[in-house]
Symmetry: C2
Subunit: 568 residues, 2 copies
């Protein structure tokens, strides 16, 4: 589509604006159909974004998103319209706000709950510099339950500045929203007494509501009023919208159309998690499952359906989910806390302080480890082995296949300490083999001076290809499935005689398998070559291509093998 | 003092209970005077703890503390009375709740905001197991503003269980409490309308208040009523107490007597932070300071007094403090976010996602790095180099003295990226030398085959002693101040010819300086020996003794030097 310029938007008639909204919707559906991405959340905020662009002046005014699953209309209305069809592809438009992409994006996001803190910081900097523009935080009601929002709300008055909070209330996180704050907002929507309003005044916010946020006739004057009020004080503009608005299937199934993934879906670790947990829970009443608003994506739906009393979705609250898991374990349960790799960063202190500090038997099921692809920097799970490794008493497992993941889950039931199992989205079923904590698996053992220790399915596959190609050149290479980063298999490392040691991992090179193997082998006169992700934030793109570009690369590893061989 | 048994407490007269309270107070003052520890917070909850022990049945009922700065009366009333005089000393009673110490402690704490999540997990486990006992979360009003509490509140109803929340409202975090939630509670205290109460009902809580929480005549019946109500629903018992109650100086100066440290105070990095920031801020209007309720302990008081508009205390909200810092930087400011090493774990995702992901020039001033001593496991800052190292674009500095810290702060002003400077509490002023990002400093360069790379004041001191003792034995050793863990000084590492490389760091051995040096020197045929903290949670005790026991040890390093020399 052609860009709708702000000047045009500002002078357009209501019916023209409504046409613009439909054009934006059509473009979003077209692009997401071709590229994947977030559909229902973006369709819901089309009118809201048009109203923002009509009434405020971007990029002079600043719009801070929360998470950013609703930034597509903003991108289409700003300087990314012509390139929008490149959405989420390498070198193309990001699915999230990005300062490096446009002056219209003032703050990068991807994880939940940051918008109010960010808006307050930007507004405060404005005040200190004596500038004047409006700062707006656009927050979904799911993210509004994240603890960060509460922390920011409590400091709002003390910061003595002015921001406009737009609460985009569609009643959904990724799953439906629950909780006391949501109910307080529902009350406002349904009756709106002075006392309900006073709650927000205590936080220093003037409450204003628009309960048909997909109707421009209501939305435009409300937005104008909010802009006026913002001149004097901070404002909470509560806008209810319909997730998936204007797209019948999305309206009916917002959970299924929150994120759209294209291409043939391979086998997923998430499905195995659901299967196995249901099976294990039948025999063991201690097993419970915890998630932070990601029941479906993590494969937990079957468990939630079969064991609703033993399944806990606490909303987008990773820290609370982690402490709840620790305490369930302290109370005698066997919790499985499933989460994406980068979201677990939110609970880092709780892993150390609550779970491992008390050596409680929580099992972390860490999905989307390694590059995850089109979501970009904020979703590339390349740090987990590094940040988990220094934590005492935590065992860290990396399955080489979905089948091995199943075996690890079965093993975990009788494991009495904290355990992390990290895996990518897709994988393959192989044979089923028993797994023992801290024991590697010898995969190919050759009369060779070269050995590869590889962790995880992507790296095992890469290593096999390298071994095969090396064999064709007459170079024998041994291969070990390094399935525990911690405790590492010291006995096996001690026993292997190969002089050249190559490590492959689907993690940042700093602080993962390579460092652990090298640490153990120090002083043995071995040559060690470690392959993992470069020390860089990895942009959005195709996961396979990103793995080759930023991670271990088949040609580089083969070249390393050849060099080891040549040196004799 | 002699233990006051629960049976005695349950049958005691009011006047006897009041005498018991005074006995507890006297014992707390006596012990803290001898051992250091948290004074004002514990004095404030004496009556509250007596009421809890009179009305509930511990350890059958479960009492979960938040932070745990108010657990001394509970320890004295349970099975730690006789050993209480060993408080905070190695092998003695911990200053925080510890499951390994007593069956009366059901959940370990040390950081803020975990109690409600923990209580919910323990209560839910109870329900699933068909058991029946009361679960009580005792939370200070400072911790009540932490985001974790809000996350737990929002999930309370959905979890369908019953807990008693006791909000110990003394109007203080470590600094005075601010924020909207606090005001909502103040309103209840001052007028208490049905609408204020309804706020808590929405979260699934029956509100009850006692506004003279140091008066047993009010407290005892209120606690009994709360216990009754808890049979049917979750309860919020809002108890106002006076921090430091019964001790005139504490009542007057609760901030100064929150924590009591004994012994002659050496020079502190915190004081240098305050000094330098004030000085630098005079010349640079971009400089702002952020803290999470730790203004005094971090040395920021002079900055807050001189630049109140550029100084932000956001309460015990490390995540919000980090995002606020990132956004202030995005808005053109130069923020210094000062924080203790282990509390920064709370903001781990925000360091990655908000600060480094956008390459924003936030400077993290990380105090209490390395073992911090008497506070124990939850306060030993031994993980920061490990969890910070894998983050792209973050520079990590470790000063060798307070003077070098000052030089680093001066250097930081013109540094355009994210920077972490980590340091222990105490140190020494030395000469002043310029510092350049990523450059080590050669300290002693000898004709030698042995070189020590040491990071931080404790390790430099240790290395100097080792070098001196080695020199007496005729062994020459070179010594380098490895003051940047990242970027590491590759040019210097490349240039040095010594075959034996020893690293010393005041951090966990996994993932710190040793691994970074070894990673860079791979394939050079060097012998590398790394010294740092063992892979274990480090208990409370004397910081110096803990450093020798769990960290690099002078005798071990000297033995390593001798062995390197002997091998030739």
């Amino acid at each position: 589509m052609q860009r709708i310029l702000d000047e045009a938007l500002k002078s357009a008639s209501l019916s023209q604006l409504q046409e613009d909204c439909e054009a934006l919707r059509a473009e979003i559906v077209r692009t997401v159909s071709a590229r994947g991405g977030h559909l229902a959340s973006n369709l819901g905020v089309v009118e809201l974004t048009v109203a923002l662009h009509r009434i405020f002046d971007f990029p002079a005014d600043k719009l801070v998103f929360d998470v950013g699953h609703q930034c597509y209309p903003h991108k289409l209305l700003s300087d990314r319209c012509e390139r929008f069809s490149t959405l989420r592809s390498r070198g193309g438009i990001s699915g999230f706000p990005k300062r490096t992409e446009s002056v219209y994006d003032c703050y990068d996001t991807g994880h939940a709950g940051t918008a109010l803190s960010a808006a307050l910081g930007i507004a405060k900097a404005r005040d200190l510099k004596g500038e004047s523009f409006s700062v707006i935080a656009l927050i979904g009601d799911g993210a509004f339950h994240n603890g960060l929002i509460y922390e920011a709300l409590n400091s709002l008055r003390a910061l003595h500045t002015r921001v406009l909070i737009i609460l985009n209330d569609n009643g959904m996180s990724i799953s439906p929203t629950v909780g006391g704050t949501h109910d307080a907002l529902e009350a406002l929507k349904n009756q709106g007494t002075a006392d309900d309003v006073r709650l927000w005044e205590r936080y220093g916010l003037r409450y204003m509501g628009v309960y048909n946020g997909n109707d421009l006739t209501e939305l435009l004057p409300a937005m104008q009023n909010a802009k006026e009020a913002l001149k004097k004080e901070s404002v909470l503009l509560h806008v209810t919208t319909k997730k998936g608005q204007g797209h019948p299937f999305c309206e009916q199934a917002p959970e299924l159309t929150h994120g759209v993934t294209l291409g043939k879906k391979g086998a997923e670790y998430a499905d195995a998690l659901g299967d196995e947990l249901v099976r294990l829970a039948e025999k063991d009443a201690r097993i419970v499952a915890v998630t932070a608003a990601m029941t479906d994506a993590l494969g937990l739906r079957p468990f939630f359906e079969k064991y609703p009393d033993r399944a806990f979705d606490v909303g987008i609250c990773e820290e609370h989910a982690c402490v709840l898991s620790a305490a369930l374990a302290a109370g005698g349960m066997k919790p499985y806390f499933a989460i994406y790799s980068t979201f677990l960063q939110r609970a880092y202190d709780e892993i150390i302080h609550d779970v491992c500090g008390q050596r409680l038997p929580v099992t972390f099921c860490i999905d989307r480890a390694g590059v995850s692809g089109a979501d970009g920097e904020t979703h590339q799970g390349v740090f987990d082995l590094s940040y988990l490794s220094p934590i005492p008493d935590l065992a860290i497992a990396v399955p080489r296949s979905i089948s091995e993941f199943r075996a690890m889950l079965r093993m975990s039931v009788s494991y009495a300490g904290p355990l992390a199992i990290r895996y990518p989205r897709e994988g393959s079923e192989t044979g089923v083999f028993p797994v023992e904590i801290g024991k590697f698996e010898v995969w190919r053992s050759n009369m060779s001076d070269i050995i590869i220790y590889a962790a995880g399915e992507r790296c095992i596959s890469l290593a096999e290809r390298v071994c095969d190609r090396a064999a064709e050149e007459g170079i024998a290479v041994s291969l070990v499935n390094a399935r525990f980063i911690k405790p590492i298999d010291e006995a096996l490392l001690d026993a292997r005689k190969e002089r050249c040691v190559i490590t492959l991992e689907d993690n940042a090179l700093i602080g993962g398998l390579g460092d652990a193997v090298a640490r153990h082998l120090r002083g043995r006169g071995k040559q060690i070559f470690a392959f993992g992700y470069k020390d860089a934030f990895i942009p959005h793109g195709d996961a396979r291509a990103l793995f080759s570009e930023f991670g271990p690369n088949e040609e580089d590893v083969l070249a390393c093998v050849r060099e080891c061989h040549a040196r004799g």
